[in-house]
Every structure is written in structure tokens, then in C-alpha cells.
């Protein structure tokens, strides 16, 4: 880059980065507040909000639901999106592009609109406030991401490697199992991580589907912030942020590892 960033410009940008990252970073000191209400900077420091977290049965219950939900949604997303991505990226058939557009279209709708639309239908078929209802609602938003990532991963795979395998005597299913699938591992990991994070963080659509019998962590955090203002949410948020970092690191590791192993 020939044109260097001047010092005043660097300072302006640094301040903008502070603005961008401050809300996330301030959650950390806030979680160690010794006050009983939201006040920053806190008048004293303590770990009492961390101690209070396990006792909050609503949040803990919601956390387990969200984790279970994210795992189920991620698994189903892969099982459903991998065959679809294979069809769309690898087989020429009539209406291929239209179908791809249809399958990714849910991302174009605002969550609030999609949530209401799902509520209207799910009420009628008894899926509101059920685990399967939440799974289906989350799949609508995770599948487009997974499909997109997997289709891109597949279309960058050299087709000839698969042809080589079939000329060596591998049936189409064996070609997929022994060659295509291992080679698209980075795409699968990325799709899984994305599906997991999207499901685990999803609030708006969940708000329409949860009920007295079942609720998710983001929904409960939302309700908590909406009704009360104390640092408990900060402590919970710290765990959410660390969890996200862990997922990202796992992806980074796996992808890095895979780059070392594959990709000629």
C-alpha cells in the first residue's frame, strides 16, 4: 500500500474501533460488579454474580435447552444440507438455480416477519412451545447458511479427482464417501460452526415459538434485560462470549489442520 495511514487518521480510526468493541468488552468488568444494580463503573468488585448464575434455574434450564437445540439443529442442518448441496453443486438438472434461490430465500425475510409467519402456522399444528417446533423454526435460518457454505465448498473441489476415483472402480456412493466427503471437510466444519452459532444466538424467531413449557437462553436473557437491570446478565454474557470464541478457535484449528492435510 503506497498511501500510508496518517497519524491523525489512525487516531480517529482507533476511537471508532473503541466505539465498535466497547459494548462487548465492557461486559467483562461489569460481570465482576459488587453492586446489586447496573452501575458503571461499579462501586465495588465481587464474583457474586458468577456465584448466583448456577442458582438461576430458569437461565440454566434455558442454557441446556439452547445447547441441545443447537446440537440437534446443527446435526440436522448437515444431514439435510449436504445432500442438497451435492445435488445443486454437482448435478445438472432443470430448475437447479430456482431451487437454490428458494432454499436461501428465508435469509431475505426479516426475522420478525418470519417469526410471525411461523407462529401462525405452528399454532395450528401444535408445534408452539415444543422442541420439534424450535428445531424446525431454527432450521429455516440455519439451512440457507449451511447450504451456501457447502455448495461453495463443493463447487471449488476439482471434479476430476472424483472422476479419477470412479475410473478406478469406485461406485458413486464410494466416490462420495471416500473422496468427496473428506475433501469437503473444511466446508462441513464451517457450515456446522455457522449453524451452531446461528441457532444458539437466535432470539427473534424463538420469541414467537417458545412458551411456558420450553424456552431458550437468548430469549431468557432478552426477557431478563427487558425487565430487570442487574449485572447477572453480564456474567452470563461472559460465558456466551467465551463459548463463541471456543467455537471459532475449534473451527480455526480444524481448518488449519485440514489445510495441512489436504488441498494439493
Amino acid at each position: 500500500m503506497e498511501q500510508k495511514n496518517s497519524l491523525p487518521f489512525t487516531i480517529v480510526v482507533a476511537l471508532l474501533f473503541v466505539f465498535l468493541l466497547a459494548p462487548v468488552l465492557l461486559v467483562f468488568p461489569m460481570s465482576f460488579s459488587g453492586d446489586n444494580f447496573m452501575s458503571f463503573p461499579p462501586s465495588s468488585w465481587s464474583t457474586k454474580w458468577y456465584a448466583a448464575l448456577p442458582g438461576n434455574t430458569v437461565l440454566i434450564g434455558a442454557l441446556w435447552t439452547s445447547l441441545g437445540l443447537a446440537v440437534v439443529v446443527t446435526t440436522l442442518s448437515l444431514l439435510i444440507a449436504i445432500p442438497a448441496a451435492y445435488a445443486i453443486a454437482r448435478i445438472e438438472f432443470f430448475g437447479r438455480e430456482t431451487l437454490f434461490a428458494l432454499f436461501t430465500a428465508p435469509l431475505l425475510l426479516p426475522s420478525i416477519v418470519l417469526g410471525l409467519a411461523i407462529l401462525i402456522v405452528f399454532v395450528g399444528i401444535g408445534l408452539i412451545s415444543t422442541f420439534p417446533g424450535l428445531v424446525l423454526a431454527h432450521l429455516v435460518v440455519t439451512l440457507p447458511y449451511a447450504l451456501r457454505v457447502l455448495a461453495t465448498a463443493l463447487s471449488t473441489l476439482p471434479h476430476q479427482v472424483e472422476e479419477a476415483a470412479s475410473s478406478l472402480g469406485a461406485t458413486p456412493l464410494t466416490v462420495f464417501r471416500r473422496v468427496t466427503l473428506p475433501l469437503m471437510t473444511p466446508g462441513i466444519v464451517a457450515a456446522a460452526a455457522l449453524a451452531f452459532l446461528v441457532s444458539f444466538d437466535e432470539v427473534v424467531i424463538s420469541l414467537f415459538v417458545v412458551g411456558p413449557r420450553i424456552t431458550t437462553l437468548p430469549v431468557e436473557l432478552y426477557r431478563y434485560v427487558d425487565t430487570r437491570a442487574d449485572p447477572l446478565v453480564a456474567a452470563a454474557s461472559v460465558f456466551l462470549i467465551l463459548g463463541t470464541v471456543a467455537v471459532v478457535l475449534i473451527v480455526e484449528r480444524t481448518m488449519g489442520l485440514n489445510k495441512a492435510v489436504g488441498k494439493g
Binding site: V12, V24, L26, F40, L108, I120, V203, V204, A234
Partner: protein, 293 residues
């Protein structure tokens, strides 16, 4: 299946591939139908029903809810307020994102990836958590008020949330990563030598910015603005939490009508209105892009 090739018997590998297509896409098609197509059509249908007091719904075909939205001054103001606020949010997001994007574009490659990661990382944190972070900063006993009170500039906490200002600040910050990424995508066209050329011709730095840099990056700006406008119109969590029930926007009204007041036909027609505004934004965007070419 929809085999377009008329090749006779002799297409074993390819043809068998085509034959299994329905099998491969059946699962996603079912999910899509149950949780997207059917709900979307039901929503459209719902907007044509008639709401009865107390949350009941009469199945009919009427444009009544649309008419009431178009004639009721509350809803007209709601729509206007949403579009106005989101336009301002878009403008501020652009203003604060452009320097970051330009900085990253010009940065050394080794810094580039770290800075890009810093831009993307907030996207991975739940909107609830990030909004909560703004409560910490802007609340009556938050960071800003602590600074203001401590410096003696004010003697009463200043109201920074539960009003339009709070919603704006929160949404601008939350949407900045999208804008920065769109701008960076558009900056691919910006050759640093062009800026140099302009300066060697005697242009001052600011003149270069207006005459060379900004016009060249206009497609990225247009894309980012479309994205941020659309996302701000449809965002719900941040306006709800930072607006504290005092800021009325389309998204929050859809939620209140459907969950609190159980007026689904009205909520449905407001949803359709959001989609119409989406369409309008898209038209403006494509006009702008065409004009830029």
C-alpha cells in the same frame, strides 16, 4: 424427473446422478415448505382476515387492516418514524464505518487480517449481549453519565436510553460490521495509485477523498447502505431493549400486535408493509447502481 438431455440409454453415471436429485433435495424441500413457504403464504392470507376485539379472527377476504394502517395517523407516523430513523442510522453507520474500511484497505497485510477479525468478531456475539453492553454505557448509572457527573458538566443523569438516541447509537454500532465488510468488498476497485496520481496532480488530501476515493468506492457504499437500511428496519431486539417501550418502530409494533395484542391480521399487514419497504429500498439501490455505471 426433469431430464432435459435426450441422450438414449448410454448415460449411466450422469443419468443415475440426475435420478437421485429428488431424493437428495427432498429433506430440505420439506423443511422449506413447512417452515417457510407455508408460513409465508399463511402470513399473506392472515393479512386479509378481519381482527375482532379480544384477539379473535374472522376468516374473510378484506383489505380492512391495510386500509386502517394507511388511514390511521398512528401507523402513518410509525412508518414515517421507522423509515426516517433507519435512514439516519444508515447515514451515521456509513459515516463511522468508512474511515475504518479505508484504514483497513490501506493497512499492511499483516495488520489487515487482525483488523478484519476485529470487525467480524462483534457479529458472532448475540445482539442481546451487545445491546446489554450499551445499557452499561448509556444507562442512567452507566459509563457516560458517570463521566458527565464526575466532570461536573451535569448534576442530573442525562437520559441516553429509552429514547431515539439510544436506539440509534445501539443500532449504528451493531450494524457497523455489515457496512464495513460491504465497503471493503467495494474497495477492491480502489487502486492506491489513483489516489497518488490525484495527489501528484496537486489535489489536497480532502479533495482526493471527494473527487477520487469516494466516487470509486460508491458501489460499496450503495451496497452497504442497502444492507444496513434493510437490517435496521427489520431489527427488533435492540429497539425494544434500548427503546424501553417508548420508541415505536415497525418491527416492535409487529411484535406487540402479534404477541401482546394478538391482532394477527394487523401484524401480518404490517409485515407486508415491511416487505414493501424492502422492495422500495431495492429499487432505489438498483437505480443508484445503474446511475453509477
Amino acid at each position: 424427473m426433469t431430464a432435459t438431455d435426450t441422450a438414449p440409454a448410454a448415460a449411466p453415471f450422469r443419468l443415475s446422478g440426475r435420478q437421485i436429485v429428488p431424493l437428495l433435495i427432498m429433506p430440505i424441500l420439506i423443511v422449506n415448505a413447512v417452515s417457510f413457504i407455508w408460513p409465508t403464504l399463511s402470513l399473506l392470507r392472515m393479512s386479509l382476515n378481519e381482527p375482532i376485539a379480544g384477539g379473535a379472527i374472522r376468516e374473510t377476504l378484506t383489505l380492512q387492516t391495510y386500509v386502517s394502517v394507511m388511514t390511521d395517523s398512528f401507523y402513518l407516523e410509525l412508518v414515517w418514524n421507522s423509515v426516517y430513523l433507519c435512514s439516519i442510522i444508515t447515514a451515521f453507520t456509513l459515516l463511522l464505518s468508512y474511515p475504518i474500511a479505508l484504514f483497513i484497505h490501506r493497512a499492511d497485510p499483516k495488520w489487515k487480517s487482525l483488523l478484519t477479525l476485529m470487525v467480524i468478531s462483534p457479529l458472532l456475539v448475540s445482539a442481546v449481549v451487545r445491546t446489554y453492553g450499551w445499557v452499561i454505557i448509556l444507562g442512567d448509572q452507566g459509563l457516560i453519565n458517570a463521566l458527565l457527573l464526575g466532570s461536573g458538566l451535569v448534576d442530573q443523569p442525562v437520559r441516553l436510553i429509552f429514547n431515539n438516541f439510544g436506539v440509534m447509537v445501539g443500532l449504528v454500532e451493531i450494524l457497523m460490521p455489515y457496512m464495513i465488510l460491504s465497503l471493503m468488498a467495494g474497495f477492491g476497485r480502489l487502486d492506491p495509485r489513483l489516489e497518488e496520481a490525484a495527489q501528484s496532480l496537486g489535489a489536497k488530501r480532502l479533495t482526493t477523498l471527494y473527487r477520487v476515493t469516494i466516487p470509486l468506492t460508491a458501489p460499496g457504499i450503495a451496497l452497504g447502505c442497502l444492507l444496513v437500511f434493510v437490517l435496521s428496519i427489520s431489527s427488533f431486539v435492540t429497539p425494544k431493549l434500548l427503546g424501553g417501550g417508548r420508541v415505536f418502530l415497525l418491527a416492535t409494533e409487529i411484535y406487540d400486535q402479534s404477541i401482546v395484542l394478538l391482532n394477527w391480521p394487523l401484524a401480518a399487514s404490517l409485515s407486508m408493509l415491511v416487505l414493501v419497504i424492502f422492495g422500495a429500498a431495492l429499487v432505489v439501490y438498483s437505480r443508484v447502481v445503474k446511475a453509477l455505471d
